[in-house]
Symmetry: D2
Subunit: 280 residues, 4 copies
């Protein structure tokens, strides 16, 4: 029976690179997944012939060695280096798909100043870089998963389809919260990926915070427009946002008016809103 798709690689290759500039240190911690497609690889499946397989353990060794060679590369650049190395070194490899997820450390602030070598975890959202390289070209993406934000007013939900299964009333004042997944695609490398990514996130959050939201869809689209407007090297941005409902509580039965004051945070069920916004 035909093997119509195959690929393999190593996942969760964790590595921390420590850059020392005098007593000022910078840490870059990544968890890398490197997946390969290669000529001859199908024989490992159909014939038990592993000759074309660069072992996943070997791939891990390559990632670690390259981490040593490039202690200061950002995630996008490092993923690109890994992809290029694998294509260069292994002639039968046709595609390298590298995803680098960052554990982001921020400098501890001690007595008002950022510390040179002490750090705290930035626990809101997981940034990632994603590079797919073939013999014909390379696609670079950046993004963040699970970046969690909330606005407590300047948001509504009204005018939607009504029928016998609708029980939700219109509202022009609600809490909106989400754990945003966003992936953006580059047409060209920006001057620096970390700065450009920060500009993108800032642009999106400014729109989320400062404009009335007629729905997650409405905010999402304008956040995408804002990102594309802020950074010209972007081609497109893809969003997936849960609508993490904070439900107004009705405490009238206990003699309380909870309106606008008390809400039930819920994880499930949640709305799920997705879109891609592209540069014209």
């Amino acid at each position: 029976m035909p093997l119509t798709f195959n690929r393999y690689g190593k996942a969760r290759v964790r590595v921390l690179r420590l850059q020392r500039e005098g007593e000022r240190h910078t840490v870059r911690e990544l968890s890398v997944q490197a997946m390969l497609e290669a000529e001859g690889l199908e024989r490992a499946y159909t014939a038990g012939d592993n000759a074309a397989v660069v072992a996943t353990d070997t791939i891990k060794n390559v990632v670690n060695a390259l981490a040593c060679d490039h202690p200061a590369a950002d995630g996008e650049t490092f993923a690109g280096i890994v992809a290029a190395f694998l294509l260069d070194r292994y002639a039968h490899v046709g595609r390298a798909d590298i995803r680098a997820v960052e554990t982001r450390w921020t400098r501890l602030v001690v007595d008002g100043a950022p510390h040179p070598h002490a750090f705290a975890l930035d626990g809101n959202g997981t940034p990632f870089a994603h590079v797919v390289a073939t013999r014909d070209g390379t696609v670079v993406q950046s993004g963040i998963e699970g970046y969690t934000v909330m606005k407590t007013t300047q948001a509504g939900w009204s005018g939607f389809h009504a029928d016998a299964y609708r029980t939700l009333p219109d509202t022009d004042d609600r809490i909106v919260a989400t754990a945003m997944d966003a992936t953006w695609t580059w047409t060209a490398a920006p001057a620096a990926y970390p700065a450009a990514n920060a500009t993108i996130l800032d642009a999106m959050l400014r729109d989320f915070a400062t404009t009335y939201s007629r729905g997650v869809q409405d905010s999402m689209y304008r956040m995408g427009e804002a990102a594309l407007a802020a950074v010209p090297e972007l081609a497109a941005i893809r969003f997936a946002m849960p609508n993490k409902h904070y439900l107004p509580m009705n405490l009238a039965g206990f003699g309380r008016d909870a309106a606008g004051t008390v809400f039930l945070p819920t994880d499930e069920p949640h709305g799920q809103i997705e879109a891609v916004v592209t540069r014209a």
Copy 2:
């Protein structure tokens, strides 16, 4: 800027259906995600006009109502019912993508006999059904995520690519463990999905257990062949298997020979092997 893709829906809609046949009860617990694409929906993004949006809360109500109408439908059938209902009722909806993840309960065995209304969680793997329906047709898939198995011998890994980055030796006796993700696509409905799914899983596990594995790739392909051979209504099966390494420990430094006896279980890094096997 163009909105080049959009969809939305409700996720984690949990529902337990309880079927009572005298004192013998059957429970079916699902977590449903229902995603829609619809004409006019783009205006919710670009114009804040929600007229085309069936609220995600409404979608939840539909799922619950249909659960009441169909207390005995299996996951695939129920997902198909939800998809068809959404297309039938909402004329502007063009695509309904329904994923139903099962919490599987097995009957408690008391004094050697399955109990009529007491159950224990089956915690190995998460079965799911996935139906995508459009005005042009419907695709039905079934599968399981994270089904965890191990074999402690009759497995090797040898003959793979050697270069300066290879440090792993050949072996003809190793532990192989994985948490299998598998998704299979139906060309026609089988007599009963639950029975057919059980036949598929059994066929795959028989091959995993009873044949020498020259690598995860080798086992994976033959497990796919076995599944396709066992159930004629299958079109294809897609696998993603981590290679969850159990590393031989070297305790020679402590005067012990650990060979073949003591292994270090690891979650990361892990190999990741993927393929699609298709009926000829």
Copy 3:
């Protein structure tokens, strides 16, 4: 300022022991936590003097070496061996607290027969052994965390306190589900810990399944009685059970009678019921 308590150790020391008897293999996978209290250890805190500290890396090496020496010991026995070794070898150690959490593998059934060397994960609940040894004696406990069960009838909840904050009606037919944590303490070693533990779990589940539950408290107490009655070497059993509510859905607004058929599974909030039952 006084250091009024201190201890340290190594956690998540994972080890798989593979016992080979011809082609029949047995696997025992544990994650061990070994915590020590020792004379002089306080100086590591208050004076930066580490002389009394057996490094946690050393503790890990000891666990691994003992795993090699005792490939067939069950979790309780192995935890006891580790505790005794640490007290014997390190004269200044006064207390060793060893907790061994099991990843339980069950034999795959192939063509109706248990396979000699292929296994599937038993994903319902996590068994553990816990041994605390001092120079004066040893306490052995066994237990399980998160063992998830449900009964769909023969359960009620009525006659409880009523006041203005009560909104829940009485019921004599509800679903009860829990993820049981249970810890039992031994007065003497049974003939074999695995068999005795299985007897205890069976006795508890028989009571849960076959008797009317007037509340989680009611079932819990009788499950404890059943465990103590079944195994004479038990001194006491401690329970903590969430009441994982399956809420009856009201679908009358959609023209459906969901009574007894459709339930909403919830993870939060949950009741939490705890008790210790002791042999008289």
Copy 4:
């Protein structure tokens, strides 16, 4: 058989309180666990008599009603209010144990200024308040779980016990990382709990960052001293810190010198260091 301990309550009672001061909003999100011990409760276990049981659903209603009454109370104060209410209202309740875990939202910074009603999740660590009230008095604790920090130099580990099971060399330059659990006990209420808790965390982190660490034990003790010195209302502080090892990689086999540059982040096994530091 005697019931030697029992308690019950409701866990994961989630509530968000929204305080509105013009367009400036403040959000306080808690997940509350409220556990009760009460006279007569044992009859729910031993006799199926629920008369003394305030249903866990009722407890949830109480928590929600009190949230409405106290929209601006911090976690410690709110837990105290819940505890006092339960003791006051239900005369047979002898002990109320209330734990309130905070989901901490920080104001989004837009164009350099904190926004009045948009927030981002603070994902590093989970703060909590814990109040235990009886008819004889009340104990208030605060703390944080999983606050993750790292220092990349000014840390060593040397002079520890040496024997045949030791393989770890001395070092005077290593990475130290931990996910700190800390619980502190109050002798008196500070002027404001949030400010006092921030002072405590700052004092601990200053010591962690700015002093040479001769071991996690050494840092832990001095962090406790610093906390107690910073806030006079503190009686004691309890720590549990994993030592999350970042292992130096040896890449000599690949012709690289990785010393001080490349490290392997690991989650397991981990050291585990615990202590209580008390005011003299």
